[in-house]
Symmetry: C2
């Protein structure tokens, strides 16, 4: 019996998990993390109204969710002062990124991102046979001019650009991003990942222009809204661009409980303000811990702080490993020179304190290991 053959493209792809989850690490270690500060989740939790909404929706889970996500799209439209036709909901930004790549990128098509930016986007580009061009960070910022220049040079179909950036926490003001949009090469779509923008200073996001067919703004309920486990991301864009998702998306992919949770979270502006305050305080606390240990926290417009450990990638990796071994889940950038850092998510005081109490030991152990 001859086995079924994968497509030539699929044969070239590795079976992979882009991020090893903390649960996997916990299973390997045989113990639960004391502090879950590695995935930029919101340890401050979701809006209590979202919790109530989910609990109320549980008994109705026998119904499929509305495949058009009508209520949520309309609520988001009102929130952003756009039309519901300018909004598409997906199973997290991750799923929408996959659909965007599928819609625009064929084998050999050029795509541009920053070297060390979001790996899941790169995974999707590889998955559709795109030719990924990576541009170096500049001073721990993604570099809009270099990215656009590379896109022009390669004839790129897509640019991925995050503002604020993950994993560095850095950001550009709206004027810089607007200039980038204005200078996009012809025929190039900017995928502007604004997952963290709710946690950035005012003036980070350019005004949304739903006439612009060359920009998709990516937002999520996973970060400030604390609904990572509900899988609700969305794209805002020009209506024909948004409509394109309907060619390929998994129409019934959004959980009914997630729809209800997102609606409730969106309406609870008080909780969002609370989280923003908690994140700001947590950023300061993480920064203080870093400095107290002779390390350098980088400025952050996100719900995490990236800490320069003052050495090379091997040293930061050692610090990370020693933290993980002591029950503190954190992650780090993948690419030099950003991989001199570790990345610590904001979270409740007791978790940040656990990080603070453990860091000196972890640093000492890392120094010893690499001596």
């Amino acid at each position: 019996m001859k086995k079924p053959a994968l497509t030539p493209l699929a044969q070239t792809l590795p079976a992979t998990v882009p991020f090893v989850g903390p649960e996997t690490q916990e299973r390997c270690m045989g113990q639960v993390f004391r502090a879950r500060l590695g995935a930029n989740e919101s340890g401050f939790g979701p809006s209590p109204k979202a919790i109530t909404a989910m609990q109320a929706a549980a008994a109705d889970i026998w119904k499929y969710g509305d495949p058009e996500n009508h209520e949520l799209r309309h609520a988001l439209a009102q929130h952003h002062d756009v039309s519901a036709d300018n909004i598409m909901i997906g199973e997290g930004i991750d799923a929408l990124l996959g659909l965007i790549v599928r819609l625009y990128v064929g084998p050999g098509d050029a795509v541009v991102t920053s070297d060390g930016a979001y790996p899941t986007f790169n995974y999707h580009v590889a998955g559709f046979g795109g030719d990924l061009h990576k541009v170096a960070y500049r001073g721990d910022h993604e570099d809009p001019q270099a990215v656009c220049a590379k896109a022009l040079q390669t004839g790129a179909k897509l640019i991925y650009f995050a503002n604020p950036d993950n994993p560095m926490g850095s950001w550009h003001g709206a004027d810089v991003i607007q200039a980038m949009i204005d200078g996009l090469p012809d025929g190039c779509l900017l995928v502007l990942d604004e997952a963290y923008v709710d946690l950035a200073p005012a003036g980070t996001a350019p005004k949304i222009d739903t006439d612009a067919a060359n920009v998709l703004r990516m937002r999520t309920f996973s970060k400030a809204h604390g609904l990572a486990g509900a899988r609700i991301g969305y794209a805002i864009g020009q209506r024909d661009v948004i409509s394109g998702f309907n060619k390929v998306r998994n129409h019934f992919g959004i959980s009914r409980i997630g729809q209800e949770a997102a609606l409730a979270a969106l309406s609870d502006t008080e909780w969002l303000s609370h989280v923003q305050k908690m994140v700001a305080a947590s950023r300061k606390a993480i920064g203080d811990i870093a400095r107290a240990n002779g390390l350098t926290p980088l400025p952050s417009a996100t719900n995490f702080v990236t800490i320069d450990c003052g050495g090379d990638g091997a040293f930061a990796q050692a610090v990370l490993s020693e933290l993980v071994a002591r029950g503190i889940f954190v992650r780090m950038p993948f690419v030099a020179p950003q991989n001199r850092c570790i990345r610590v998510s904001c979270g409740p005081d007791e978790q940040i304190s656990a990080f603070g109490a453990t860091l000196p030991e972890a640093l000492a152990a890392a120094h010893k290991k690499l001596r």
Copy 2:
């Protein structure tokens, strides 16, 4: 500014919604359905234990779900007496079907299904440029021999075959399906959709053989388990075939609450037995209503009954429209001669009674309309 261009394939695809949801119909009509019997959801609801599990998990929704779905895969492995490496979880069978097509089907590759079978599969085949060959039903059953013959003739990479079948409710015994598996052409993968198998007579599902690299068994928590809104489907297969999903899947796509709900539902065998009994009684009640109105219910191994309205597609469509206009949500097969029928999902007594009370009026109105 030149707009970004979709891939040549994406340009050929329509922006579509494969199924119009009942919520959309309700919005159009300006009223809520009195009976929701159109999507083969389980109106008997999920296990109370699943509801409790979801409610308990709500506050933890700030955490991403485990991207490896470790606990659920292991629980399913134990349930099916296979290894966890033989199981892949997806955002409903719909999402897994899309991934399977993506992994195996490139532009122009042949795929075989039955004419009138699950449209979402066809949507995925079109979405990856596959060449879909449709085989007629035979006596309201999908026809294994004709399907295999067509696959051999066309060199098909994939066969889609549902047992029990949707939309007809018909089924083949395990021996027929096993013979189909044994006779698959070389290099052809059978996607065996068993979404309804928990509601079928014993002896409908062939024994699971995890050495067989040419069959993927598709299961779901959306039907008997009453978790349609949670989006949890899974595939069972040979480990290398299962591992292929890791090349292209949305690793973090499963909601954390869905994972908990599915685990609880799987463990509640008592609730499953209860639902099976309720479905059997409901099938009988729907059949009695059909016969009392001079119509012919078809035998069903699912949680719905397909009713032969005794006329052509236009007549069944009229009956359906009149039911919908009276607040009874049902659907119908798309393709002749199966479109002489309407399809009524099982559900609680009061909903079936509402259908029964409305059917005579709907039939009268349909007759009048087409006179």
